[in-house]
């Protein structure tokens, strides 16, 4: 069963790479997906980032009780936590819910209502026209959302720290530049590209292969989100073990 799914998933990915029937129409679809995934998810990403940043600052301060540890350490810890883990992983898990379920239900509905068949009969490669633009758009937009999430999270951590009187803005800024490793950004981006691929291709697979009616679309959508989340966490561990083991 699992091998069947893996095989069909691989065939779906292979089937996407054919010459487009009309580049302009593919570009139009790609831009539509960029707007759908990017602009459509921006508000939820901003809300999550604001609260994660704020909570990170307050909880870090709560745990750093030793007077010999400078307050600026809070800024450093929040920065690294946000960049290394919270922004790429939590943002992607939320996007798996928001974007993943949308992709699965959109394609599932197109399959059930014969819209995919209609495109096939016109001579259009539906894997290429419907799935590839979604994956490419996610690969472009999700890392952007992760970067925005990082900036907003770190900034809101500062606001939370200052407003609650934990540390001054100057102390927080000192912490932010302390022992900064640019590789952490590369690591966060590597994660976000991997997660972007997961949250677009897995729901596309489940949506594209729906059989039945409205009930099956809902089931496919749920399955797509659950499996995307599990794969994100597995990939998170794998990438951390692979790229941070010398750190």
């Amino acid at each position: 069963m699992l091998l069947t799914h893996i095989g069909r998933y691989m065939l779906m990915l292979k089937g996407m790479f054919t010459r487009p029937e009309n580049w302009r129409m593919y570009w139009k679809e790609f831009m539509r997906q960029c707007v759908d995934i990017g602009i459509g998810s921006l508000s939820i990403v901003l809300i999550i980032s604001v609260f994660i940043g704020g909570v990170s600052t307050i909880q870090t301060a709560y745990q750093l009780v030793s007077p010999i540890i400078p307050k600026s350490t809070i800024g450093q810890v929040v920065r690294d936590t946000m960049i290394l883990e919270f922004c790429p992983t939590i943002t992607s898990i939320v996007l798996a819910g928001v974007v993943g379920s949308k992709i699965a239900s959109e394609l599932g509905n197109m399959r059930v209502s014969e819209q995919i068949d209609a495109l096939e009969i016109m001579g259009i490669n539906t894997k290429s026209y419907l799935i590839l633009p979604k994956i490419l758009a996610a690969l472009l937009v999700v890392p952007m959302l992760v970067v925005i999430s990082g900036f907003v999270g770190i900034w809101s951590g500062k606001i939370a720290g200052v407003v609650s009187g934990i540390l001054s803005a100057q102390q927080y800024m000192q912490g932010l530049v302390l022992e900064f490793k640019p590789f952490n950004i590369v690591f966060a981006l590597a994660k976000s590209y991997t997660f972007a691929f997961i949250i677009s291709s897995i729901p596309a697979y489940f949506g594209y292969h729906v059989q039945g009616g409205a009930l099956e679309i809902g089931q496919a959508s749920t399955k797509a989100v659950v499996i995307s989340c599990i794969l994100i966490l597995l990939a998170d561990y794998g990438l951390a073990a692979l790229l941070l083991k010398n750190g």
Partner: protein, 262 residues
């Protein structure tokens, strides 16, 4: 013209199509009729390439479609229009965008030329005021008409209609039938229609293929059907007493006409 030669299709152990041979003629409404589960939809899906045949051959104007690769089929597919049972309109597009879609994908026409063609097709199906509406905002009959407009926008040589009357009231059904028949004759299209609707059979059935349990049971025209002695066909077509009486009246009318002209 589409020719079916000994077409067979099975799903697992179940044989759905058992060696069907028939000719779908150009400029005529070719109807495939039969009870639910007789293999009508599977046959149509095989004809348009959504399903592969297990044995036999499908020829489009003498060219074997079933032995072609996907890339080769693209050329024939551009000459195929299809009206689906639920119309299969793209939800995210307006009526105008739905009809324009095949033109945008496959033609090099300017926007003005595309618009002109779309307006002409929508006018042909008597839909002049629905350009900016979304599929969710129009009725079932209107959806079918938009589906027909989208199917004919690229001037196809072959038109397939899967149960065009399903879910429509009798009056709208007749309008859709009439429209399909007019378009078939006007553009000399090879039209293939899957239907259960007896009105369609009697009104537009230039050529009828009756399937029974995956086999071709009977073939003829809507005039021949009245005089058919095939028991299974008669049970299927003239199922009620009302239809039996109508059949006898029609038989008498035709016989009177023949003796009058003879």
């Amino acid at each position: 013209m589409i020719e079916l030669k000994n077409v067979c299709k099975r799903f697992g152990d179940k044989e759905i199509l058992k060696g069907i041979s028939a000719i779908m003629e150009a400029g005529k409404a070719n109807l495939i009729i039969g009870a639910s589960g007789s293999g009508k939809t599977v046959l149509m899906k095989c004809m348009v390439g959504l399903l592969e045949v297990d044995a036999g051959e499908i020829l489009y104007d003498g060219i074997s479609f079933s032995s072609m690769s996907n890339a080769e089929r693209k050329h024939i597919r551009k000459e195929i229009g299809m009206l689906f049972q639920g119309a299969a309109l793209f939800d995210s597009m307006t009526v105008e965008q739905n009809v324009m879609f095949p033109l945008e994908m496959f033609s090099n026409l300017s926007y003005r030329e595309r618009k002109k063609r779309v307006d002409a097709c929508l006018a042909r199906v008597n839909l002049q005021d629905a350009h900016k509406k979304y599929p969710a905002e129009i009725s079932g009959g209107m959806k079918k008409r938009v589906g027909i407009a989208r199917a004919i926008v690229l001037n196809p040589k072959y038109l397939f209609c899967d149960e065009p009357n399903s879910g429509l009231d009798p009056q709208t059904s007749m309008l859709i039938d009439k429209l399909i028949h007019e378009i078939t004759v006007e553009y000399n299209i090879t039209t293939v229609i899957n239907t259960h609707d007896m009105n369609s059979v009697m009104e537009i059935g230039d050529h009828i293929v009756y399937l029974y349990e995956g086999k071709k049971q009977w073939e003829g025209s809507n005039k021949d059907i009245i005089f058919s002695k095939d028991e299974k066909l008669n049970q299927f077509i003239f199922a009620s007493q009302f239809l039996q009486d109508a059949k006898e009246m029609r038989q008498q009318e035709l016989l009177n006409q023949r003796s009058g002209t003879g």
